[in-house]
Symmetry: D2
Amino acid sequence: MNTPPLRDYERTVHFADTDAAGVVYFAHLLRFCHEAYEEALAQLGVDLRQFFSNAGLMVPITEAQVRFLQPLYCGDRLRVTIDPQRLDSSRFQLTYTLYNARGDRVAIAHTQHICLQEQQRVPIPEPLSRWVKSAPEDASDRED
Amino acid sequence: MNTPPLRDYERTVHFADTDAAGVVYFAHLLRFCHEAYEEALAQLGVDLRQFFSNAGLMVPITEAQVRFLQPLYCGDRLRVTIDPQRLDSSRFQLTYTLYNARGDRVAIAHTQHICLQEQQRVPIPEPLSRWVKSAPEDASDRED
Amino acid sequence: MNTPPLRDYERTVHFADTDAAGVVYFAHLLRFCHEAYEEALAQLGVDLRQFFSNAGLMVPITEAQVRFLQPLYCGDRLRVTIDPQRLDSSRFQLTYTLYNARGDRVAIAHTQHICLQEQQRVPIPEPLSRWVKSAPEDASDRED
Amino acid sequence: MNTPPLRDYERTVHFADTDAAGVVYFAHLLRFCHEAYEEALAQLGVDLRQFFSNAGLMVPITEAQVRFLQPLYCGDRLRVTIDPQRLDSSRFQLTYTLYNARGDRVAIAHTQHICLQEQQRVPIPEPLSRWVKSAPEDASDRED
């Protein structure tokens, strides 16, 4: 009945992700989060090329936030978990936790998304809808 | 007596800033903000190569947030204003407003920064300290 | 009669352009070149959003090369000149020279482009055609 | 006796890699190549954080070239092989072939590297030296 939980996203920090301070450039953390979102969509069976094109359904990000807890270095192994949460019939929020190889949290982040078709709000479509529904009940009273 | 206000940062949206949805990739908005921060520092007389190295004073970003109001396209002309605000003796927040060529706000964002030396908090140094002091008094009761 | 030469492209090296070795990440030099190409097109009156979309005429890059002569650092001021050259009726090459603030050449690069419509070669359209025609005659015996 | 061949590098094309033309931004192909180089180094036992810092041995890229054979789209699965080749006692070249999921070549590229210590040429150190030695003899008459 229930879909199995999605695998976490893992990747190595590349040299291109770093900056002259020797660590990952701050805004790239949100890129890692988006990569995890893409992998979750792929696991849900979404065609990424179609989904992230400029035709049909658009799901733009309306807000993004990230808190940096520990620096990340070139070669570090990163794991990203996503906690999806429905906000209303056309909007959802993804909360990301990023861990290093020792299991320390290195960052937490969230993005908010809205489903649009021809610039009008539309309901969150399948399979996204099923995914964000899978958020635990008590997630609803969390304030971020 | 008072330092003159800093010039706003302006730049054109490049093709490399866009994604397959035809607009600027969301996380790059924070890059535009950081570029504006760099230009403000340069106007204050800061040596950027030294400031953004991995030696001596470090001013890492501890939190970043951005709200997306309108999409940006390749070739769009962008203007970024910064409102600096002292949070405590070693921490400050920069609030960015991004405008397109028509003067519409396309995004608002903020970053929080902490001043560290050998991983210990240190007071905000000059000329940063003078800059963040220049925040209007009533900024202190703003909640973001 | 003759169109005046285009202005060179100038920009500052941003923190996001650097890597953990403290200098500009190698592949970003080609991004600077493309920015210069975009500014040249804008000066020629091209609508960048339309030109760099996925509809109608496509002018993909078929080859790119860059030689690195000197490192670039955060805050460095960069100037890029472009020498356009027609290769055949549908193909052209842009040769870029990148200078630092002291006037030293820091890199030379080129990109080759092909004009396609519905995946078929088409003649280089105006105003690009006029621009690449303006290459000096002796450019033809230059090695690439 | 012989070290086993290194595993190829594989990764998925991310949304952040694409541009408004709907395909991967040209210069990012070189980033994929560098990621493959990093993974090869990691397999050779190199500490990436140390290797790609601004201290001690520096191995800057002196030239890079890429030929684009087929476009790449968000979600495409990519495989990169590296053919290393010693150029002289302190210089080596890496030749990359990029394949899509169907096994088609989508790009070929190369980078040239020089080993420097305090801005003086030094011999290619282990384990890099062993790796680039492993290039087949007949690689020497390959044109670049």
